[in-house]
Amino acid sequence: MSTNKTFKLDGKTIPFDEGDTIMDAALRAGEYIPHLCHNPEFTPHGSCRVCIVDVNGRQVSACTQPATADTEVDNTSDKIMGQRRELLQMLFVEGNHVCPGCEKSGACQLQAVAYYTNMLSPHFTHFFPQRSVDASHPDTAIDFNRCILCELCVRASRDVDHKNVFAIDGRGINTHLVVNSPTGKLGDSTFSASDKAAHVCPVGAILPKHTGYERPIGDRLYDRQPISIVGDVAAYEQEQEH
């Protein structure tokens, strides 16, 4: 599809089609805009705010903002990178993210985006919330400590699997992911390890069982190359399977 509409992303000319978001156009042009709750396979969400870019002095989430012709979009200035770093630090202290003990370390988007934005410490006071681990399902475990509320599993289960296994409950800082089953446990739900929802978590909250540390730390996706080059872990894993 050809188009003559363009905008500037850090000075580079990016073509776009009517209806594209800034993220859509940037991804297609091979430009990386950091993101966590966005996955091009699903309706944009705009909740993590990590993809904020500056358009005419206003910060907008690139995944939800329609691209407009002849605008200048700032994606990499110190100011924008600093704001993203602070958002990531907020996500880190809100949950319990212990990278050295996490199976997803090295292939975790939260960790990879944190590296990309040069986040060196969580900075804020940790909340240390009391959250549980659900190991009731034979093939998949959920560690709620690591959930960042991106709602990708909610969207995948609703829109692709048509199972509605996941939902969001609570409000404000008490917002949390829940499982739709009589007991609230994954093992009693209709969830299956072959569901789309099992393969979209950008962090280590939804993990397959029985396959711990198959690939050694140091040799994982983001250990070898930064996320700005290799992109989302979900897309990478999907590619590996095919």
Partner: protein, 594 residues
């Protein structure tokens, strides 16, 4: 009646529409004091929704619960103006008399006592809700009587009527509140002038949204009218949740006809046949009177089919109840809530004028806006423009509370100065005025020359006065806690940032903070302002940022001298260890002073 029958009946009323879920849950809560697991199961079957989805809706709204509240469920209004009138002391005293821990139903299930966000009774507080019904002017005597009534198990319907008296307290009237036109005049004007001419009147009147955002009403109606769809909707935002505002309460209590008339006028212009009034649950006492006004209007041919005899002019209104969520005052959250969902603000674009309720073109306006529109249809645009300023035509209703002799409703032409208003309401010793509520602006004396207008101090109507004796950090703390409670939790900066802010304000209050913490508040506030998904998140840091800038002494006088202090008291942190080991000797303490 069994819960099965009850649920069958109420879901049948709405034709088992899943978008009526919140209304259904509200009724179940009223009837059974909670939404039990069994109720959720029945509803899930009936409405073809998952149980977790329904739990998620219950979990979002403060007035819905999955475990029973007390038979007498008491919520004490926790707005800063209630605090200033002694609500915290009254809460403690009530809990003590009843032997209740705040937030937990008493073991016999008789009573529960908790706090709730501003109930909109600021000028006649402290206020409470008992089973959703408002009680005003609490004092030690009333608290004593209430404790006795509860212990005697006297049904709320038999409590003294004067407890439930809600006064209008109109202190100053102008073109809106002195209205004496007859019911139906605006609709007769619409029929006489035609849709287009009437819409042009609204446009050229310069009327702007009275909720605070100030979007041009005529333009909104025009956009909605132009949006092609098989149905359009009119929604009145009566979710008056901004702390310190209560003017919609007065309009709905005494001027409801004109509000409904404004909605009907809008319907006639944009081509809607259905409207909703989204009423905050705190105003439950207004629901029955509002239903009666609508019934009267139907009988008078002002609502229903062929309004005023005009063929095809069909419009009716339904009241939907909120369930305790400040965010639902944001128009797209309100629409989500009307659709029975969690009140999460939508992504924009698209805007409600093209994709609103049920994805159809929808006008959402404030109560006061609809009333003003009705009067403009009658009296014309130039009548409206003759009052106010060039940019802000007409008048604004202010809800004035706090430290003044005559709190209540004041209607001023736009352009009235803060100083002038303070004189009128008898506030001679004001240190600061908080305009536009918790999300608004803090004005020190140096700014009292400023004016109420969209081009200067813009407000939905909240106006809280703080005199020289007040510690403004109490206000800041109250607002910081309010935003933690009311953040919807959707986006990172608001969900996490509001909690971080609250903790920092508490740290200052406890005397543990240093300059570093104030710098942190600046940083977090700036991030929330720049990166939040909706207006709640972008305005939530206002009270902190504004007072850090204008009242630095309320912080500096509490600071430790060092640049960094830990967030906790080392000795207090050892308490758990002391409890476990049963030790309390000197060796089990860390000297904080020595």
């Amino acid at each position: 009646m069994s819960i099965d029958t009850f649920i069958n009946e109420i879901t049948a009323k709405s034709g088992n529409r899943p978008d009526y879920l919140l209304q259904t849950l509200y009724e179940i809560q009223q009837q059974y004091s909670c939404i039990s697991g069994q109720a959720v199961k029945l509803l899930a079957d009936k409405l073809s929704l998952t149980e977790s989805y329904i739990h998620g809706v219950v979990g979002f709204y403060s007035f819905l619960h999955n475990t029973p509240r007390g038979t007498f469920d008491i919520l004490i209004s926790d707005s800063i103006t209630d605090h200033m009138l002694g609500s915290r002391e009254l809460l403690d005293s009530l809990c003590q008399k009843l032997g209740v821990v705040p937030g937990q139903p008493r073991t016999d299930g008789r009573v529960s006592v908790d706090t709730t966000s501003c109930t909109g009774m600021c000028e006649q507080g402290p206020a409470m809700l008992v089973n959703g019904w408002t009680i005003t002017r609490l004092d030690p005597g009333r608290i004593e009587s209430i404790a006795e009534l509860i212990e005697a198990d006297t049904p709320v319907a038999q409590w003294p009527q004067e407890f439930f008296l809600v006064e209008d307290n109109i202190q100053r009237s102008d073109i809106l509140l002195s209205d004496d036109t007859a019911d139906g005049d605006a609709l007769r004007a619409l029929i006489a002038q035609g849709d287009e001419a009437t819409l042009q009147q609204i446009e050229s009147s310069g009327l702007r949204g009275r909720g605070g955002a100030g979007f041009r009403t005529g333009m909104k109606w025009r956009f909605c009218k132009q949006a092609d769809a098989d149905q359009h909707y009119v929604v009145c935002n009566a979710d008056e949740g901004e702390p310190g505002t209560f003017k919609d309460r007065v309009l709905l209590n005494s001027y409801a006809d004109k509000v409904f008339e404004g909605m009907t006028l809008c319907a006639g212009i944009i081509g809607a046949t259905k409207g909703y009034l989204y009423l905050r649950a705190e105003y439950r006492f207004l629901r029955a009177p509002l239903e009666r006004v609508m019934q009267k209007r139907r009988e008078a041919g002002l609502l229903g089919t062929n309004i005023l005899g005009k063929q095809g002019f069909d419009f009716d209104i339904e009241i939907h109840m909120g369930a305790g969520a400040y965010i639902c005052g944001e128009e797209s959250s309100l629409i989500e809530s009307l659709e029975g969902k969690r009140g999460i603000p939508r992504k924009r674009p698209p805007f409600p004028v093209t994709h609103g309720y049920l994805n159809k073109p929808t006008v959402v306006n404030n109560v006061e806006t609809f009333m003003a529109a009705a009067l403009i249809a009658i009296h014309g645009a130039s009548w409206f423009r003759s009052v106010g300023t060039e940019e802000s035509s007409g008048t604004k209703l202010l809800s004035i509370s706090g430290d003044c002799e005559k709190p209540g409703i004041y209607e001023y032409p736009f352009g009235a100065s803060i100083q002038h208003i303070l004189q009128d309401c008898g506030a001679s010793n004001a240190q600061a005025v908080q305009v536009a509520g918790a999300a608004g602006v803090t004005l020190p004396a140096e700014e009292f020359e400023r004016r109420i207008a969209f081009e200067d101090v813009s407000t939905g109507g909240s106006f809280m006065v703080f005199d020289q004796q007040r510690d403004l950090l109490d206000m800041v703390r109250n607002f910081a806690h309010f935003f933690v409670h009311e953040s919807c939790g959707f986006c990172t900066p608001c969900r996490v940032g509001s909690s971080l802010m609250k903790d920092l304000v508490d740290k200052v209050y406890a005397g543990h903070a240093g300059q570093y913490d104030l710098d942190e508040m600046h940083d977090i506030g700036a991030l929330m302002r720049a990166s939040s998904h909706c207006g709640l998140g972008t305005t939530a840091p206002n009270p902190m940022l504004d007072t850090l800038n204008k009242f630095p002494q309320i912080y500096s006088k509490r600071l430790k001298h060092s640049s960094y202090e830990p967030a906790f008291d080392l000795d207090a942190a050892l308490q758990d260890a002391r409890d476990i080991t049963g030790r309390d000797d000197a060796g089990a303490h860390i000297g904080t002073e020595s």
